[in-house]
Symmetry: C2
Subunit: 198 residues, 2 copies
Amino acid sequence: MPVAGGQGRVLELAVLGSLHETPLHGYELRKRLNALLGMFRAFSYGSLYPCLRSLLTQGLIAEEQPAPATIVGGRSKIVYKLTADGKERLQDMLTQAGPSAWEDESFGVHFAFFRHTEAEVRLRILEGRRSRLEERLDAVRTALARTRERLDSYTLELQRHGLESVEREVRWLNELIATERRASSEDRPERDTTSTDE
Amino acid sequence: MPVAGGQGRVLELAVLGSLHETPLHGYELRKRLNALLGMFRAFSYGSLYPCLRSLLTQGLIAEEQPAPATIVGGRSKIVYKLTADGKERLQDMLTQAGPSAWEDESFGVHFAFFRHTEAEVRLRILEGRRSRLEERLDAVRTALARTRERLDSYTLELQRHGLESVEREVRWLNELIATERRASSEDRPERDTTSTDE
DNA sequence: GCTTCGATGTATCGAGCCGATACATCCCGA
DNA sequence: TCGGGATGTATCGGCTCGATACATCGAAGC
């Protein structure tokens, strides 16, 4: 069952989140998105425009009418803005802390909108991502141990580099999680911190 | 024009390369591939089986007949092996040093089979990947400088982490390139090394 | 003044790939 | 003996990309 909405809709979240700041048209939207996500993802028009159309028919975004004087040629820019339903949907998506938030493709997008996410959800997403990566680390290390003997130096070097990259991301997540915990314990200092693991 | 064969066919290369070592059946093939590529990619059956079928009809691989005694039930494993055409094709792909070799999705696969790649091609792929990453680094840094003022701490942290990861990969590539150059100058010591850039 | 060129802008198409799923067999332990 | 987990082949819906097409606008160049 494809669940029809809420799975791999990373783009949907990215668009809704961007439009939450300010109304935008497609071209500018794509530029901002790809600048925002920087090195992690790069959405293309081939997915952006169908996504905009879908959001439009769902009533989550709407075309904003510009001042008539602005229109020079026939039809020019199509500026989209978030509707009330869209804002609600965005809040929903930001509240979800599941695999769809911490997989490779989606984690960056969720993280980019952490400003609008509750502290508790942020923590769960960071921890989810960390255990996802540690899972993968285990799998690769096990596979590596099993086939250690017959591997050429290039394959080995690739494994080593990949392992190191992921270990580095885990350390990054550890720091972020520690920071989050510190911030939340400062908000609620009545909580006993001596019994927390790690 | 989709060029019909030679673009995004990363899987094709991966399958051909794996089958070059030893004949394999689908399930085992996928396991090896995902162990080999470790943290970079993970192919699924949804792409593997159509790929195998396509390679079969192209005559690049063939079903290997097992000893009749091996077949216990009706039809069991389908073991594929590389044909002569397949070996030729693999050599072709390994010789290609273009964007299709150093983009994110394909670089890992190409690197994993560097053992079968000529030294000159290896160097060009490594350098191509490096300049690809530096390009991206420039783009993000420029975008970051232009919008520095209005960015929340999470977005900033994401950018910083992304930037650092890519810088790290560039350093890795630098080391690999230096090693390759050293190795190739040892092979041909008549080459003057004082005039090489960097 | 005229033209060319690059940035801006909307939009679609073919094709690759993934996740989920279905289904069958084999073997091992409770 | 029975269930569950590994092995094994296979497909379907749907998302996304890269390439491409087409149109407008301003600036640079001749």
